[in-house]
Symmetry: C2
């Protein structure tokens, strides 16, 4: 798979707000598929599993099987790679400072 193809999968996965919220939930701690179904109670189990499949195919989560449970972990590296691609280590400090400044003066976060 080319880098372009891999990136297509990543940004397609991130383009759905439910999948972004699933990553938000997994940022704090790994969760089983059952726990995610409880948190996203408005979706049926099949839909939750489809979303997890899209996130896993993009490499944004890693599934770990323990017995009958499937634990879903957030994989930080693709998100880190997005940052490296367009900001990189040298501009990161400036971008962080600007974000905090905007917050202090009350500019809407982007």
């Amino acid at each position: 798979m080319s880098t372009d193809d891999a990136d297509d999968l990543i940004f397609k996965a991130l383009s759905h707000r439910v999948r972004r919220r699933m990553l938000d939930a997994l940022k704090a701690e790994p969760l089983t598929t059952g726990m995610l179904c409880e948190r996203f109670a408005e979706l049926d189990r099949c839909t939750v599993m489809q979303h997890l499949g899209v996130l896993e195919a993009a490499g944004l989560i890693v599934a770990e099987r323990r017995g009958r449970e499937r634990w879903n972990h957030l994989e930080a590296l693709p998100v880190h790679a997005i940052h490296e691609r367009w900001i990189g280590p040298y501009a990161a400090y400036a971008a962080g400072m600007l974000a905090r400044l905007n917050q202090r003066i009350g500019v809407e976060p982007v």
Copy 2:
């Protein structure tokens, strides 16, 4: 516009490989629309301008008019916000270290 709507625009904009390459070009320096048309010579001017419009609507570039020229600047804050959302300052060091380790041992970058 809700944060979800704004994020939809950002990830929709990033989901097209041509638009990602435009941001790559703008990472190094701001470019006029004419310069971008030369770099993306396989596309007609109208298509280049459409892609720039999608990037601008998402807040990923900012256009600055100087006389008859339009200079396009990369806007780092939305990319910074993606990083903050799922990695945050505390995990950034670990993610950077892991990315460099993967590179040294020859794991495909994600």
